[in-house]
Symmetry: C2
Subunit: 470 residues, 2 copies
């Protein structure tokens, strides 16, 4: 394929993408195929000789689309949103073409510097304290783009682990490293995302799930009691995850309370606001972030709700040195002259290589402006409110937990089995897609406003579909 | 931005990208800017109101390009290649538009199934043993796309760690987990990539760097002796990394020898062929992979040398259950009906979310065909041979280590300082870009054939530039 063929093919692809997005609402949101379908449609090995572009283009509709779950369909209400927008697509085209691997500043200065600046832009939109902004903290704090919130959690947990081991090696020189390690314990709410427990598993430290309150929020007191109990038993609590906007019900842990407890106890607080974080650009939702000055690290996913497509998970550190200390290995072939005056993001993450992802933030922030993004958040929150009004209007249903932002958790009154059966029917009809969660034994169906294309008629469509399935 | 504006903007972007690639040879490969340059060109915060697309498009040349190190320039000879090609760009446009998060089969079956099939296609091209192919091993073995080779190493090390801990808990029930952990030790060659030591650091296990032989290859005997010595001291060697194509000099460890040693000792062998792996699609280079049947996991980066752009790191496991055991956490909102009949790649990696990356492999393998990719590898090896002939023709230079594939390590005869000063001058002139390595005290300059666009005239250009700098 030469550049002339690419031009033709790229223009076809642009048309295909536009057609896909414009008519996505007409596609069945969940695929009808069975496991193993793709092997029945494709050969078992790579072609020996080049194939024509037209064959590949044709195979998108024949082979790929029948197996796609359409995350950007306005009928997709599962999990949480994943971002997408025209400027984000444009930015990734450029990023792919530049194709630099930004592990050090020298490997492509623009890749590092735009990322630092975009994380400052974004941090200011969220009104993060200055200690998290690179310029304002003179490089002590700052932001970095990670792949996912799960990776951000792991990265911070590993940094906190290293820091704590160093601290106790000084405090208790007679202890072996393994003796410190076996005492280390991490806390999260019983509503925290599964990736937190998984991070503890991978980091090789103990994990304790603490009971949240009636609103599914973790309180300072629960953390305080756990610390006392575990300290009495010789353990070392060193890391607490505070979730703002949990996956099961979008509950908010009490960051300010937990922050005060952990400040006294010198415990690392990592704030996971993967979904809800985007909403904090609106002043009316910013209060959820009160107490953020007491946290050590804060993460949310612009690739969820800020019209930037996956992956782009934003992580800020109060002291980036904690990361560098835990991750720094420095071989000759990666050294460069400007090392003392720059930051090398390779020390801030698990992989060595990294893409030029800040372009997506740059394009999206400029095309929509802060006001455009706030409008998007508010619109989706209003659509969720409209859905909850519909649920309230029908006596057979209940909403057992307060709806927050773009999520409504609802159920049929009565036994869990009723709602379970209802959801099964809904997903079997494949016209809309939702997933469940279980809130302390209560089975609920999660309705999330996901797609950028969702309008009130899609909310009404979903509600009618749900009622038809009852 | 609506779809009509996107159409116009995307067409402009396609033209920009074509122009960029066609004239990249005329751009200065290394940027001239100083640290902090981007803040002098951009505002300190995000715009409140939407900006025009034209402003953004114009800023690519004004703001971004001055800070780009052009990895795809035919004058870029640093590190190892990173892939790029027209079909790969097209595939990522589609992947971004579909924008599914493929953590489970259900979350987008095509994303999971195409990946499994493409890893089989690729495995067959490399003539991997059947135990690594999904279909042939009935799902026991199989492949998965990781972000980077460093991540693949960590993932396998964590799986091996979990497996070993389980084994010793059964063997020595009186030992605490921390007692097993403090005995665990990983081996790699003194030529292994820094990410191996880093993975051990993150996994919290000991790491021993073993001395390679005169050709910088790790031999079976060195591993055997280390195992004996460490076992005698009560340690548990559990993981050996075998590098095929080291970063400093593209040396190949003796996989078959190390394989025999580790098979007896039940130690996990992970093969890292990040760069060189692509060459194994050519029969004349496949012999480097002899002994692969004795390995537990094998990884190489199609995003390096197989015209697929970053990220696409291919990892195969002989027993995928080892990964799932180490990574499996199973919350309600991620469960689905077909779970027993499918594989969920979320258990095969560190992050939860994942992009639809197999599209890049699919497009590239079809557009070039196996034969087209072999041609690409052979052409680049021939260019490296041409460069080494030029070096040999000049008495002032020497090539102290055998050149392999697309890499030539050369130096000025005499003191290291001479070559160090030479490289400094070369990179200061910014017409070509190279990086050094140090081979047991000998400073060498690495000349790697990187860009898909490199032709013989660029090799000659580089050689003339080097001679001018002497």
């Amino acid at each position: 394929m030469d550049s002339a063929e690419f031009r033709r093919a790229a223009h076809q692809m642009v048309e295909y993408i536009i057609e896909y997005m414009e008519n996505i609402k007409n596609r069945q949101v969940l695929p009808s195929i069975e496991p193993g379908y793709i092997r029945t449609l494709l050969p078992g090995e790579a072609p020996e000789n080049p194939e024509k572009w037209e064959n590949i283009l044709g195979d998108i509709e024949r082979v790929i689309m029948p197996g796609v779950t359409h995350w950007h369909s306005p009928h997709f209400h599962a999990y949480y949103p994943t971002g997408n927008s025209w400027p984000s697509l444009l930015a990734d085209m450029l990023s792919d073409a530049i194709g630099c691997i930004g592990f050090t500043w020298m490997a492509s200065p623009a890749c590092t510097e735009l990322e630092t600046l975009m994380m400052d832009w974004l941090g200011k939109l969220l009104d993060l304290p200055k200690c998290f902004l690179s310029e304002e903290s003179e490089g002590v704090g700052g932001g970095v783009i990670q792949t996912t919130a799960s990776e951000a959690t792991l990265v911070c947990m590993l940094a906190a682990k290293t820091k704590t081991i160093q601290k106790y090696r000084a405090l208790e020189p007679q202890w072996k490293e393994s003796e410190i390690l076996e005492r280390l314990i991490v806390y999260g709410s019983d509503q925290a995302h599964s990736s937190v427990e998984r991070a503890a598993l991978l980091a090789g430290v103990k994990y304790r799930s603490l009971q949240s309150n009636r609103e599914y929020s973790l309180e300072g007191n629960a953390v305080k009691q756990a610390i006392k109990k575990d300290r009495d038993e010789g353990l070392i609590p060193f890391f607490v995850i505070v979730t703002l906007g949990t996956t099961p019900s979008c509950a908010f842990d009490k960051l300010d309370e937990i922050g005060s407890v952990c400040e006294e106890e010198e415990i690392w607080i990592h704030v996971d606001a993967a979904y809800a974080g985007s909403a904090f650009i609106c002043p009316e939702y910013r209060h959820h972030l009160n107490g953020i000055n007491l946290a050590d690290s804060f993460n949310f996913n612009p690739h969820k709700w800020l019209m930037v497509h996956f992956d782009c998970s934003a992580l800020w550190l109060k002291n980036s040195k904690d990361l560098v200390d835990a991750f720094n290995i420095d071989p000759v072939y990666l050294r460069h002259d400007k090392q003392s005056k720059t930051l090398d993001y390779r020390h801030w993450q698990i992989p060595l290589g990294r893409r030029f992802r800040s372009l997506k933030l740059w394009f999206v922030l400029r095309i929509y402006g802060a006001e455009g993004l706030r409008k998007h958040i508010r619109k989706q929150c209003n659509l969720a409110k409209a859905f909850s009004d519909l649920v309230h209007s029908d006596d057979r249903f209940e909403i057992p937990v307060q709806s927050q932002l773009g999520l409504v958790c609802f159920r049929l009154k009565g036994d869990n089995e009723l709602s379970k059966e209802l959801l099964k029917r809904i997903n079997e009809r494949k016209k809309i897609h939702l997933v469940p969660s279980v809130l302390r034994g209560i089975y609920v169906i999660r309705f999330a406003v996901c797609s950028r294309l969702t309008e009130i008629e899609h909310v009404e469509f979903a509600w009618n579909e749900i009622r038809e399935c009852v």
